[in-house]
Structures are given as C-alpha cells and as structure tokens.
Amino acid sequence: MQTIDLRGVTCPTNFVMAKLELEDIEAGTCVEFLLDDGEPVKNVPRSLKDEGHKLLGLQERDGYYVLMLEKGAD
C-alpha cells in the first residue's frame, strides 16, 4: 500500500498535498497518510471525507497517526 507522509506539513498545505497525491491514484485503491497529532489529524480526515473518499480507519503510532483511506470515484 502506498504511504504518503504528511508529517511536519501544516494545514492547509497537508490537505492540498494529499489531494495532489490522490490525483495520480486510481479510484478504489487504498492509501495511508501519516499525519501529525493536533490540527492535522482533526482536519485532514474530515476534509478528505468531504471530497468523496472513504475513510477506513485511524491508528495511533509513536506520536503520529496513520489514516487509511480508499480513493473515491471522481
């Protein structure tokens, strides 16, 4: 599974980067995003859901979060 590391990137740049990365991925594919605690983990999942992607789960790892997502249809 492709992992996109958005740690160290602040809002809204992290969300826009996630959007750009998803442009090159086929619908139905699962991707994971690494997100910092705080604003990023609160905002980015919600914004990606709003864009029509399917959120599959969220896991805490050492001080950051892993968001699993399935790319939605355009």
Binding site: V41, K42, P45, R46, K49, D50, K54, L55, G57, L58
Partner: protein
C-alpha cells in the same frame, strides 16, 4: 415651515449619521448577515464614487458606510441605491441589522443556515423601536462563534446533538480524536463513549465520522441574552438550547417585548443592565410561556467584565 428639500421619510429608521463638518453625513447601508451580490456591490461603488469621498468604510457590524454624503443628495443616493434594491440601515434605539457568519452553504463548520435567519429577522424586525436603547442580534453557525453571539442583546449559535448508531461504527476512533471537549473517548469494545455533560453541540464527531454512524438527533440554536460591548461590557448568558431556526424571529420578539415593558422609564439602558436590575428569573419565566421545550431551567446574570477603569483612587 418651508417645504423640506429632502424626503424626510427616508430618515425614519436612522442610518444617516451626522459627520464632522457642515452638511455631511455617513450613510450606513443595510447588509443583513454581511452577504451582498456583486451587482449590488458595483452599484454601491458607483454611488460612492458619484456622491462620496472616494472611499467607503466597512463597519464592524458588516455594513458598508458611504462617507461624506451631502444631505442635499439624500434622495438621489436613496433612489440610485434602490436600483439594486440596496436599502439604508438603522441607528439609534432600534433593532439593528442582524450580523451573521457565512452559514452552512459553503463553510464546512456551519451547522445551520445563519444567512437565512439573518434575512428573516431583518425582514420582520428591522428598525423596530425599542423605546430605550439599541438592540443587536447575531447568528453564528457553530460554537466557534465568529460573530460573538454572547456580546449581542440576543445571540444565536448553531448547535447539533449527536446520536450514534453503534452498528454502523467501525471503531476508527476519529470522533474521539476530533472531539476538542473531551466528550468522546474510545471504550473497551472499541466504540465511542459519549459524556453528554461535556458536549457543546459542535458536531465535529458527525462531520468526521467516515461511515455516518454519528448523525444529528436534533439541530437548532443555542441562545444567549443580555450581552453588549461598549463602555461597560457584559457577556450574555444561556437562555435556550436547540431553538428551531423557524422560531428565532418569535423568540427575539418575545425578548423585545419583555425589554420594552421592563425598561419603561429607565431611559437609555441596554437589555443586559435591565436583566441585572430585574433578575434573570423574570425573563426566563416570560420566555418559558411560549418556548418551554427550549428554555433552560435556570441561568445566571449577564457577566460583568471588569475592564479596570476608572483606576481606584485616581484624582484629577
């Protein structure tokens, strides 16, 4: 008396404000909720260019104010603004133009259509004379409360009560992570546990939930009353929760009726100070008559903010 050279009916609700300097006035425009079509904005620009000083002022309550308008031009200004249905606002001891955030149509935080509420209040209550002092209303779409509802005479804040469908929950934990109030935590069965006593009705859990397991059980306005800013600021306090949006106008009218009655003879005194004088119980009982399902069991007086002037012991 000589025939007036301007139509005095235009001045009835106020909105024409005397400036420094002979013959000059500021014309405050009526912009409920701060939303304006681009066509209207162009018309205002044209009128400002023709009759004004070359700039406008954006008031702190979302109005555009035309500056340096000669009073002899009032009728022409009103007529030309009228070509785009732009009206003049109010000032003085009246219900003012309501302010509002962008609402819920494009703002992802908005829980309720504040723009619709602001327009409705503006249509039905604009310019109503209070008999005492100004009366300000605002609509915030969510508990972020950008319009600062607690410093209005009546301030509304969009709210949503969340409900969980445990079968639809995949245990991802995003809701617990998103809840800034600590009202949600993940239980031993990996499902969220809701502590209602901490919830401020922001709906972040509903917005983030990937499966729609969280949804809105009920929606409406949290209502605070008695706030103001100015020389002696007061923070308004809670009177109602989950007031349906279609009851907002009636609710304001009920508060206004209480104020008009209780402030009789008090002079130029704001609602919050009348509540301090009369006690919150009187207003709460009055509101309970028509809004019993929404009114809170008890509240507190408007909260005085000690802004530390005058300094104690200060002499001239």
């Amino acid at each position: 008396m000589a025939e007036p050279k301007i139509d005095l009916r235009n001045l009835k609700a106020g909105g024409f404000i005397k400036e420094r300097g002979k013959d000059l006035f500021t014309v405050r425009l009526r912009v409920p909720g701060g939303r304006m079509s681009v066509d209207r904005l162009s018309k205002i620009a044209a009128v400002a260019q023709k009759y004004g000083k070359g700039y406008v002022h954006l008031s702190v309550r979302q109005s555009i104010e035309l500056i340096n308008i000669n009073f002899a031009d009032f009728d022409a200004v009103v007529a030309e603004l009228g070509e785009e249905q732009q009206k003049v606002a109010s000032c003085g001891a009246r219900v003012r133009v309501p302010t509002a955030c962008g609402g819920c149509e494009y703002n992802p935080n908005g829980l309720i259509d504040t723009q619709k509420s602001a327009l409705e209040v503006d249509q039905k209550l604009f310019g109503t004379a209070t008999g005492h002092h100004k009366f300000k209303v605002c609509f915030a779409g969510c508990p972020f409360d950008c319009p600062k509802s607690a410093i209005n005479d009546v301030g509304f804040q969009g709210a949503v009560w969340p409900k969980l469908d445990a079968d639809g929950c995949i245990g991802c934990g995003l809701c617990a992570k998103s809840c800034a109030e600590g009202a949600l935590s993940m239980g031993p069965d990996n499902k969220p546990v809701f502590d209602a006593s901490k919830c401020i009705y922001c709906g972040d859990c509903i917005k983030v939930c990937p499966t729609g397991a969280w949804s809105a059980e009920k929606k409406g306005y949290t209502v605070r009353i008695g706030g103001k800013w100015g020389r002696r600021p007061l923070v308004g306090t809670l009177y109602a929760t989950f007031l349906p949006e279609e009851r907002a106008v009636d609710f304001i009218a009920a508060v206004l009726a209480w104020y008009q009655e209780k402030a009789e003879g008090a002079g130029r005194v704001r609602l919050g100070d009348i509540i301090i004088r009369e006690g919150w119980q009187s207003l709460l009982d009055h509101l309970r008559r028509d809004f019993s399902e929404y009114v809170v069991p008890e509240t507190i007086l408007p909260q005085v903010i000690n802004s530390q002037l005058p300094l104690p012991g200060q002499n001239a």
